[in-house]
Symmetry: C2
């Protein structure tokens, strides 16, 4: 009796994972190199360079962390925070809330600034809290995957830096799907995931730390609570430029070779297309989706100016509620092979989250979903 | 200019990763399912069942953690320890030392019991420390990857349990290469890696927690410092048996789908062969290696009774020292495509670590290495 059995084909239009590009899947199947092999180190250096370009940064400490996006969030916070540090976190969805919880577990004094789920954080509310709290770190979410809200970054980041705080930004869903400009915005630590607009499997968290962040981490009074995520230990393996030799890299943990092959292939797709074309494709696909859903009675949760292109959250029409939203999602999956995402938290049962990420941000997936919905709801 | 370029073929005879089986690589290239897809949940349940068999346990909380082995170590310790808890850790190599460091960062009062690198921990020394310290947790390493020592488990585990302590065991290198019997030994938390005797890529850490460990984690006074590794949160997604529906699984983080496909294929290989045959194959390959290295002047570091079959550490002969051990390793890699591992810590420059793990525990890889060494050293 085998553990691995034939698997169905799915069109993944939920909040991630998205479908991986065939080139990425082919890359994952290549034979392994050792994690200290000079050929692997050279590949890793090219991946780091590609991530810098995607993140819009010159940060040397930009790398694919060996775990999923939530670990990237944890890495960003536990390296910069010490017990008792004041922190301001913007919370307008699951992932802002998660950031606050991770910071609490790092012993920080967490001050949250709340906004309704589906709205952006108010700049003035964030600035007021920053002024009042004088935090060591300000954290918020660029692309809130639980609601589909895109948060304007620069004003909040400026307020934080003016107050001498470090800025942590969640870019899990935005990276490679719309502009991320860490250096221009003045971000000190950012994290993402590979399973969204990069169209790679889940398993890696691209992260980037500024020189300022590294200096703060270096001058800590107490060690980083996580050995696995300790920036200074990670630097022993990941830091440095392509030397043509793996000899200078110090073993920390064993890097996930195959996942990094996949990310390399994913980045190649991104840069073959070009970031501007990729961003435009995501926007066009979202427009097509919203227009197509309108006659079926689905209304966007988020105001048009604040909407993410790669993740559209829609309020459910009576036709879906009558059948049961979970029933309709199950029919989409079973009869049409299409996955869409349910709502989370207070939005459970109220919305769907429809992802058009990476390779799926094209007309065909949109039309396939619309056609299936028309059949189910007719 | 592409990031992913053609990669050389390597025979990976270091301390891991080992070469992945072609079936595993093929599995990694299959199209993705969503992490809440019922077909994926069913696969995950079969993987958990396979890991239970490999670990020799009935523990329900046995799962592939979404990060490498070091994160598994951290998960085992941070879930069971609270600040101030006394801990006894056996240290006779890098990974015992790492365990102590991870426990310190969790705020524990760490008492180490040291043994020379290349020797086993003395049962009496561990038992004395346990008696004196009355620890909450006793941790040690079954298969010390830095030295090639196999630690007898049952007596130390019994002493720990008799004193009311939880027992944490590092099985990174031993799992699926020699018997691991968590339930028979009375282990409360164990962790491994996929890139050793399972012949899968690095990236996942199979972990297992006993009911006793789960109860302790549930009754903690302070939250687990790591949100990503919090057992009670992980349980929301991973716990439960195959229900035929993913509906009962609560999203925590996005599981690394492709890596779990690979692990499923790796476990299929393990059980197709059968664990006893696999163990015997590892032993036979190690014997062939030691016999073949003897005429070349390589001497095993570890006494025959304490040797791991899947990782043989050997003192370097004058012929290798004269050329420079790093030079010889580079020639093995560049001219013969063979990777072997260097020594770590006090054993750097003194030993090599030669892994015959999983698919590589066969006569052909041994003979290929011996032939290459004969050519270089002649």
């Amino acid at each position: 009796m085998s553990i691995l059995r034939p698997l169905p084909e799915r069109l993944l239009l939920g909040p991630g994972p998205s479908n991986a590009h065939p080139d990425v899947l082919e890359a994952m199947s290549r034979p392994l190199l050792g994690h200290l092999d000079p050929d692997f180190i050279a590949l890793l250096d090219r991946v780091k360079e590609g991530l810098r370009e995607a993140f819009g940064t010159q940060n040397a400490m930009t790398l694919p962390l060996s775990a999923t996006g939530s670990a990237g969030m944890e890495a960003a916070l536990v390296n910069l925070l010490e017990p008792g540090d004041p922190v301001v976190i913007g919370v307008n969805g699951v992932f802002g809330g998660r950031m606050a919880e991770v910071a609490r577990r790092a012993g920080a004094q967490v001050h949250t600034v709340e906004a309704p789920w589906g709205s952006t954080l108010e700049v003035s509310a964030m600035a007021d809290a920053i002024e009042r709290v004088r935090p060591r770190v300000v954290g918020f979410v660029h692309a809130e995957t639980s609601t589909g809200v895109c948060q304007p970054v620069d004003e909040i980041a400026r307020a934080a830096r003016d107050a001498g705080a470090l800025v942590v930004l969640d870019c899990v869903t935005s990276l490679a799907g719309r502009p991320v400009c860490l250096d221009e915005w003045g971000i000190d630590a950012a994290y993402s995931g590979t399973q969204k607009c990069l169209s790679c499997p889940p398993g890696l968290s691209p992260v980037s730390f500024s020189e300022r962040a590294i200096a703060v981490a270096r001058e800590r009074d107490v060690p980083v609570q996580s050995w696995f995520l300790d920036l200074s230990l990670l630097a022993g393996y990941y830091a440095g430029e392509d030397t043509g030799s793996g000899a200078k890299r110090v073993y920390h943990h064993t890097a996930p070779i195959s996942a990094i092959y996949g990310l390399a292939a994913g980045l190649d797709r991104v840069f073959d297309e070009g970031l501007p074309a990729r961003f435009a494709r995501h926007t066009a696909a979202a427009d097509r989706l919203v227009q197509g859903l309108d006659p079926l009675g689905f209304e966007p949760l988020v105001a048009v100016a604040d909407r993410l292109p790669m993740l559209t959250s829609v309020r459910l029409p009576e036709s879906v509620r009558r059948l049961g939203e979970a029933v309709v999602r199950t029919r989409l999956l079973d009869e049409f092979g299409i996955e869409v995402g349910a709502g989370l938290g207070p939005l459970a049962g109220e919305i769907w989250r429809i992802g058009l990420m990476g390779e799926n941000a094209r007309p065909e997936p949109v039309d396939r979903l619309l056609e299936a919905l028309r059949k189910i709801l007719s």
